[in-house]
Structure formats: structure tokens, C-alpha cells
Symmetry: C2
Subunit: 596 residues, 2 copies
């Protein structure tokens, strides 16, 4: 008997041989679940959400005392009370983990001048009397000194009462020339929300629109993971019907709303004071948060329903914010090149200069942009989730307990570096990259990527298949031939994308002045190893730069600046999308790219 427990959002899979409690399973997987009472069912801290349809885990009496009926129906259970003996997917809420998960929300520092669309203006109106019979809104327009000030009917309906209750004074919240709301007194801060909606993670930033200050940040898991780890699985679910599509949309908005509410609470305010928002994401996420139909993204030729920028009311997409406020959803480039890519390019100054520059955002789909003079071309390549730890036996995301760096000596012994410094529970993308690079350097892998069964550090399993030992302290962590194959396919896809772009724009590797790598993987990755295994072409190391969550930085910049939004509009029109599958030399580049 053997079954697998998958812990989300960490992406850790534990293969088990015997039934035991989820609390024990989490321990074995290296996840530090809270358990103040030591698993006695008293403290209620080890809450987890299990996904099992139909639910094979009826709540115990103890669980009934900790959870409401709705929570139980949603799969909430105590890890210490739940005994598992079959395959199971478990969501670990961040509140149940002792150290918290590493969910990167940083990015390049924004250093732009705030230039927000939203401003507030306190006005005092002349009271209506028989000698001044203008309508309330007309007098408000006059007081605002914006003659062509407009307002939606919903806002107009609220003006008379507020004016009279507030002694003919009002604080106007204006978006360019639209009165989005009015309040009794000036807002302490004009709050804005920027969100980078990733497939795995939602990076949320609460900002002061007037100062450009980031007031609070929060990274939360994308709750859609319960409906599929990769985008295609979620698209497949969404296109089943309206209800399914609405479920994915609502889940997303609930998480964003909750994160935003928590961010606002941190500074003693509420979501109703969020006056503007900017949401970016890959094209599927963009369609999910706007609740646009996703059918056209699920089938070839994978075109978006809408690609231009939109400014819906926050209420139209279910975002909790100030009534009457809008959301800015920047343009997407193509079916697999979203507004997060646009935000990345914007944050890294692609709109500012014409240098020869390569931008890479590695994920299940890796977006790559190459700029040469006035031309800027983007591709998307299906690199798969190997660098995020998926489809790798001991793979996991960059979280505490993950092996992030590996070096191997002549005896085939691995030296490892673990995030958080603890004993390792798995290996993340940068660690795998190092390991493959080192194995190649030492000849443990040949140029076709096959393991040499007689090489140092290689052992053979029961069926005579080779594997490499990375660690064997508390838990043995190994790499199999299959793991290596996954990594080679991933890096081959990325390299093929880069090669196509260089071919298309007639750029030679040495001409590339800068290589910018976004995301967590980019921050941990060692460029020399990426070049050694051929994921990147040979470029002077000093030209490679990790830019963190550049998409989030771009979203923040667009949030606080009208000028930057205008640049984004122009940039979106300038970016040329190139479809790899119809590029004649793509197959050749790919075949070459997957070699070790």
C-alpha cells in the first residue's frame, strides 16, 4: 500500500506507506504545523483544509467544537484528528504554520513620482436658498472647480443627504473628472491596492497614492490551486460552465478581498477606503479576475477575449473597495503573455530605452522578451512546472526547508544549502538547476542527460534504476533520471524561446547588454549554472540581474501614476507577440535546447 499526500500551497508531496494523522504526515514532510497541545485535539491550532470529493473524512466530535458547519462542509479539519490512508490534497492555511511560508512580494524599488488619477478635495457649498436655486450637483460642480465633473447615478443618489447632514461640506473623491464618491471628511490616506495575481500566489500591496509609499504587503496563496495547480487544469474547469467559471472568479476575489482587508486593518483602515486598484496577471488570471469567458484561452489558437486595458467599476469584478471606485486592468499581450509581463517590462524600463535587453519570467509558462532597438518581441514557452518543484519527486517551491543550492565534489557527495537553515524537506528550482549543472560538470550526466550508473554518488534502486543522493539526514532526498528529464525539458523550452527571439531579431548572445530574470526562482538561481546547462546562452555574468517580483513593481507603478499608465498603453501597443509553434526553426532550437 502506498499513497500520496500533497500539501498546498507549499507544493510538497509525501509518499506514505501506512495510515497516520495529517499532523504526523506534515511533520514527516517537514512542515511545521502549529500544535500547541501536542496533537491532543485541545488547542485547535492545526487546522487544515482537505479536498476530498465525496468527503471521506466525517468530522469528529472534537472538530465539531472548533468549526462551524460551513467550515466543516468546506473541508476544514484538525490535522491531529484526521487519519489518512488514501491519496489526499491538503491546503495548509498560513495561520496554521509556525514560521509562515516564504511568499515573496518584494520587487524592484519603485522610485517614481506619484501622479495618481485619484485626488480628494474638500469643498464648502453655498447652501440652497430661494436666491440660489441651483441643483445640489450643480453647486457641487461649481465648488469642485471642475466644470465638466461627472458622476454615476449611484453617487448622485447619495449627494443630497450627505451635503445636508454635513452642513454643506463634503470631501470629494475624484478620478480625473469623475466624482467616484464623497465623504464627510478628508480621508486620512488615499489608499490604493496593487495586486500581482499569480497562478500560485497573489502578491498584494497597499499603497498611499499621494506619497507612493507602500503601506503594507501580503502574499497569499491563489485559492484556485484546489482546482488545478497549472493554468490548463483551471481553464478546463472554468469552461465546464458558468457556475464553474464563477467559482474560479469568486474564489480569487475572496482571497484578494481578504488580503486587502487585512492590509487595511494593519493601518487601522478598511477596504472601503481603497480608492483605486491595479490588477495584473497572466492572461488566464486576467480573464479570471475580470470574469471574462476563458474558452478561447483553453483551445488553440489561444486568443484572449479582450486584450486592451479596461477600467471597470470595482463592483463589476467583485473587488471590495470604495463604492464608485474603478479598477485598472492593464492590457494583455496574447493568450499566454499577460499584463504581468507588461508590468515586468514597464518596471524594468523597456519603455524608456532601446538597449538590447532580454527579460525572462520563469514559470509553468515562461515569458521571454527581447528588445533590439525600437523592436520589442515577446514569446511564451511551455517550460512546465519543474522549476517550481512540480513533477519532481522531492520537488517543492522556494520555502523554508527547500534545498536552494547544491555543489557536488569529486566523490559525488553533495553540499547543500537549505532555505531557513533547517534540515532539508525537499528541493526547489534553483537547487535542481545547481545539481544538474554539477552532475554535468562531473560527468555524472552525459550530454544526452543520462545518468552514468557507475559515477560517484549514483545508487541503483530495486529495479536497477539510478538515482543521485542529495541529502540523507532526517529524510533522504534524491534525484531520479525522471527528475533530470523534467529539468532538461524545462530548460530546453526556455532556451528555445531565447534562441528563436535572437534569430528573429538577429541578435547574437554577446550583443545582449542585460538579462533580467523575474520571480523567486530568478533570485535564487545561479546564472553560471543556468549557462552551464544551456538554459541561458553564454553572456558575461555581470549582465545577468535578478529583478524579483517585477510584475508587482510594475503594478504598483501603474497604480500610483497616470503617466506610467500612459506609458503602459503605449508599451502594450509596441510589444510584438511571436507565436513559437509557427516559427519554422522552433523545433530545431528545442531539440538542441533539451540536451544536457
Amino acid at each position: 500500500m502506498s499513497f500520496t499526500i500533497e500539501f498546498q500551497p507549499l507544493g510538497i508531496r509525501l509518499v506514505c506507506g501506512e495510515p497516520f494523522t495529517l499532523l504526523e504526515a506534515a511533520r514527516q514532510a517537514g512542515i511545521s504545523l502549529r500544535s500547541d497541545c501536542g496533537g491532543a485535539g485541545i488547542c485547535g491550532k492545526c487546522a487544515v483544509q482537505i479536498f476530498s470529493t465525496p468527503n471521506k473524512y466525517p468530522p469528529t466530535d472534537t472538530e465539531k467544537t472548533f468549526f462551524t458547519e460551513t467550515q466543516l462542509a468546506d473541508g476544514l479539519r484538525l490535522a491531529c484528528e484526521t487519519i489518512v490512508e488514501n491519496d489526499l490534497k491538503v491546503q495548509v492555511p498560513s495561520g496554521s504554520v509556525i514560521e509562515g511560508q516564504v511568499l515573496q512580494v518584494e520587487g524592484s524599488q519603485d522610485s517614481i513620482q506619484p501622479d495618481p488619477l485619484i485626488f480628494q478635495k474638500m469643498v464648502r457649498l453655498d447652501e440652497a436658498n430661494l436666491n440660489n436655486l441651483a441643483s445640489d450637483f450643480t453647486r457641487l460642480q461649481q465648488a469642485s472647480e471642475i466644470k465638466s465633473l461627472t458622476a454615476n447615478l449611484e453617487v448622485l443618489r447619495r449627494i443630497p443627504d450627505l451635503l445636508r447632514k454635513n452642513n454643506w461640506q463634503a470631501n470629494l473623491i475624484i478620478r480625473e473628472k469623475e466624482l467616484v464618491n464623497l465623504t464627510g471628511q478628508s480621508l486620512l490616506k488615499l489608499l490604493g491596492l496593487a495586486v500581482d495575481v499569480g497562478s500560485t500566489k497573489l502578491a498584494c500591496y497597499l499603497m498611499n497614492l499621494e506619497t507612493g509609499e507602500v503601506l503594507a504587503t501580503k502574499g497569499v496563496p491563489n485559492p484556485q490551486i484546489a482546482y488545478g495547480e497549472d493554468i490548463m487544469a483551471r481553464l478546463a474547469f472554468a469552461i465546464k460552465g458558468k457556475d464553474e467559471a464563477n467559482t474560479l472568479h469568486s474564489l480569487l476575489m475572496q482571497s484578494i478581498n481578504q488580503a486587502a482587508a487585512e492590509l487595511c486593518a494593519q493601518i487601522g483602515l478598511s477596504s472601503a477606503e481603497i480608492t483605486d486598484a491595479c490588477l495584473v496577471g497572466n492572461t488566464a488570471m486576467h480573464h479570471f479576475f475580470l470574469n471574462l469567458p476563458a474558452e478561447s484561452l483553453a483551445f488553440s489558437p489561444f486568443v484572449p477575449a479582450v486584450s486592451n486595458s479596461l477600467n471597470p467599476l470595482s463592483s463589476e469584478i467583485g473587488l471590495d473597495a470604495m463604492p464608485g471606485s474603478h479598477v485598472y486592468a492593464p492590457a494583455v499581450i496574447a493568450g499566454f503573455v499577460g499584463s504581468d509581463h507588461l508590468a515586468f517590462l514597464l518596471a524594468e524600463g523597456f519603455s524608456e530605452n532601446n538597449r538590447v535587453c532580454l527579460g525572462i519570467d520563469i514559470g509553468t509558462n515562461t515569458e521571454i522578451a527581447l528588445q533590439n532597438g525600437s523592436r520589442l518581441v515577446s514569446v511564451s514557452t511551455a517550460s512546465g512546472p519543474a522549476f517550481e518543484g512540480a513533477h519532481i519527486r522531492f520537488g517543492m517551491r522556494a520555502a523554508p526547508g527547500a534545498i536552494e543550492h547544491v555543489s557536488i565534489d569529486q566523490q559525488g557527495k553533495a553540499q547543500i544549502q537549505v532555505i531557513g537553515g533547517q534540515s532539508p524537506t525537499g528541493i526547489c528550482g534553483s537547487g535542481i538547476l545547481d545539481a544538474v549543472s554539477e552532475m554535468r560538470r562531473l560527468g555524472i550526466l552525459n550530454h544526452r542527460g543520462r545518468m552514468d550508473k557507475s559515477a560517484p554518488g549514483i545508487r541503483l534502486d530495486d529495479q536497477g534504476k539510478p538515482y543521485f543522493i542529495l541529502a540523507e539526514s532526517d529524510r533522504q532526498i534524491t534525484l531520479s533520471q525522471n527528475d533530470i528529464d523534467q529539468i532538461l525539458l524545462a530548460k530546453g523550452a526556455i532556451r528555445a524561446g531565447i534562441d528563436v527571439l535572437m534569430d528573429y531579431l538577429k541578435v547574437k548572445p554577446e550583443e545582449i547588454q542585460e538579462v533580467l530574470i523575474a520571480g523567486a526562482f530568478g533570485s535564487y538561481m545561479r546564472p553560471e549554472h543556468a549557462m552551464r546547462i544551456g538554459m541561458l546562452p553564454e553572456i558575461p555574468l555581470g549582465r545577468v540581474r535578478a529583478v524579483g517580483n517585477a510584475a508587482g513593481a510594475g503594478a504598483r507603478m501603474m497604480l500610483i501614476s497616470k503617466t506610467i499608465r500612459e506609458k503602459a498603453e503605449k508599451l502594450a501597443k509596441r510589444v510584438e507577440y511571436l507565436e513559437l509553434t509557427v516559427y519554422p526553426e522552433f523545433s530545431m532550437f528545442y531539440a538542441r535546447g533539451i540536451q544536457a
Copy 2:
């Protein structure tokens, strides 16, 4: 024992001395209720709605077979089954009346060139393929040849499915540069709805926007009458709370929606094909149909919440029309000078020339405009409902059975003319005007408006009070001193308004080139009598012209023409509102005006 039954929307009151069925009461009041079975409770045709709180008329078993529980709860009863012995207000549905009620929807003929905001355009798109990866909306924009075409999120959400189901063809419904909707095939007709929302009556016009043809018209009673015949009573109800305000709004929209649905059905189409609408009304009606708060209209200084023109989505005001379509609500001038007045001025060419012209729309509030050169000034005067038959013992609206004209001979015998030629059931405004004018001519009334008890035609009641007999065939119809007083107050208010305007703009009566009188009363009224009793100044008779429902005509013009809407916007800015109550000479003019 004596009690009064009031029949709406005809405005007929019947004073009863003994209990009898509503069917019988209606007969006595001259209302021809349908009654195919002769009052046996079999045909169910004499349905009426009674307003009685709490409802003192429990449904009979017979009524339970004709009405649903909801209908019974709404007060629907059979007139033949309901025996009345107390004061009661009854609404007579038009379907229960044999001849239908005279609800004028005509007006000046529109003879303008259609220039609608809405147009439709059939497009065929290039199918998405790997060599044409633009988003659905981008390709639709290109096919529309309107580069900056916009669309609301709700419409964007529907594009992909329609395009794919319709083989990449679509019929675009465009409002200037906004895609309001798209359909599989061209619409047969681009339908538009114009409504003159009167306090008493809703005049609805279904139009072909492309040809300007009026396809169907319908006048229905304003259902808010159940909450008060005059505007102040309805405002008093609306300001009780949100629920009450919503009730008045919903009732209005239900009636408009039902009328519109019937108009569409007449030409084999449905309300969902109404692509544009224009609604006008006095300022209270304007606030009710937009569901704007009415508090500021209910108390001095009576200012509107909003006076400028608005273009809400039809869904925002609950109008059943094509999803995504808008409604044009033209500007109002002041608290008691609405967009119906603007429409009247527009229809009668006040925006076109600078002639000296007086426009009057007589109602409970009478709006009067005087143009002199480039100046155009409007006032509203509280003339009361006497000319609509209210507060007059035998008063009724201009409907079959109403005495519309009266002449009196030297013997004090009245010659009458009755609408529909039948025996008279009451007297409407034009008839009362004639009667007062004739009585004054013959000295039956003195200059202070008192009846001469010894004059021919005058009789005295039990208490020695004089009254004048107009008719005494089936039913005796008389005028009392109180009736005369009501008329003198009404005409005095109107004349004072005219005098203030002439004084303010320094216009002498003989300089007025044209007098335009709107509404049903204007059509029946004899100008010479209006001048004889001093309601109008002495102006050559040929200069006085009845213009019917000019507000409806103006609404129709604005519905079908962008150019006319632009004129309306300019006209609204040009009209100067003058508040009578602060005009120094108003009291003097009023005191002079109410003399007979």
C-alpha cells in the same frame, strides 16, 4: 350618511347617500365599466383596484376564482361584488372600461431628420488562427472600423461566445463609440422609446430610430396616483424612507415597462429590442424615474438633487430594454420646472429663433416661459388642480362624459357640449373656464367673483347658498361658489406668472407674437374665454395656438436626434429660472389676477 367614491385615473368623485356596489357607483358616475354578465359575478370583466388600508373588503369566493392571492392582496376586486358604504378610492384599469379613457398622446408633428445616437453594423471577422492572434475584441474593433470603440465589461463578457456560435459574424449595436450590445443578425428595426412621464399620465411612444416613424403610442395612467393625486402628496410619501421612495420608483417603471412591452408586442417585437430611450417629466417625476432622492424637492427652497442631463444604463433605472442600452434623461430647469418643460420649449422651436413668445403648460403646477430676444425665462406657478377637475364638486378630467364647452343664454340656461357626445357625467377644465366666462359676461358673477343670488340660472341650496345649474338630464351637474373660487385662484396664479414674466422682460401684451398652450386643457380651451376671465392678457386671438402634448413631441425629437439633444443641452443652459415667491411685485399681480 354620506360618503365619497373617487375613481382614478379619471378623477371623478361620486358622493353617495346609500351603500351600493362599485359597479352601480361607476354607472352613476358615468363610467362605462365592462360587465358582460350584467353584474352577476360570472364574466370577471369589471375588475377594479381598491385602495383601503386596512382592507375592509375581504375577497368573496367569486373573487378568489378570478384573482391570484397577490392580486387580491393588491386590492383587486370585482366591482359587481364589492359593496361600498364608506369613503373609498378606486383605480379603474383601462382594460375594465368599455370605451377606454381619453389619454392624449398626440402632440405637434415631428418633422425632423432622424440622426440617432444608435446605429447597427453587421461585421464579419477574420477567424482567430495561429497567424492572427489578436483578441476577440480587438478583431471586432478592427471590423467595426471604429478604432476607439469601447464596451462595458458586461458586453465584453458576451462577445466570444456569440462570435463563435455565429460563425464570426455579428451585428453590432453601437451608441456613438460604445458597443452597447451585439446580436447574431441585424435588428429588423432600431427601436427607441420616448416617454413623457406626467403626474397623471404616462405618454409612451415607440419609434423607429432610423426612419423617425412613430410605430405605436400608448397613454397609461401614472400608477403613483394611488399614493397621492398631487406631486406634494407623493413627495411626502417618498421622503418617509428608502422603501417608500423605491415603491414610487418601481411602480412607475413597472407601468412604463408594461406599456413599452405592449407597444413592442403590437409590432411583433420585444422590449429587449429597445436600443435607446428618452424620458422627460416634471422634476419630481424626473427624480422618481431616476430614483434620485426627493427630499430637496419636498421642502423650501425646492432644489433638484441633479439638474444636468444624464445618460444612465437602462438597467440602472430598471427600464426593460436591450442590455447595455442607455436612457437619456434631459436636463431639468428647477425644482418645479422639469425636463418636460424643456422638451416643450424644444418642440416649439424656442431654441431656433428669438421671437417674443409665451409658452404655457397648465397643470397643478403651471410652467410658463417667456422669450424676448436672446432671453428666455421660465416660472412655475402653483395653480392647483382645478383645471384638471380636482377640488371641483363635479370636476373630472377631459374624458368621455365631461362637459368641455358651455355657453349661457340670457335666461341663464346653459348649452353644453360633452366629450363623446353622451349624457354628461362631470365637467372638465375647458368647460369650467367657459362657464365662469359666460357667467361673468351675463353678470351672474360680479367682478369679485361672487354669484348674484338673484341672477337667472342661480338656485339656492338648503342653507341658502347659491349654485348654478349646468345640466340636469340623467344627473344634475352644478357649479358652486366654492367651485368658482377654485377656478379664480387657479387662473389668478397663472396670470400672475405671466404678468411677472412680462414685467421682468419688459414685454407688453401686444408685443407677444405667439402664445403656445400645451396639454389637453390647451386643446379644449377657448382662448377668448381665457382672456375674458383674465387668465391670459389681451392678445389677438390668432396668436394663440394649442400645441397638444408638446413635451412628448420634444422627447421624441431628442430620442431620434443627436443634433436635437445638443440643442436641448444648450437650451437648458439658456433658460433662466425666475422664482416667483421672491419677485417683489408677485403678490400684487396675484391679488389682481384672482379677480373675476
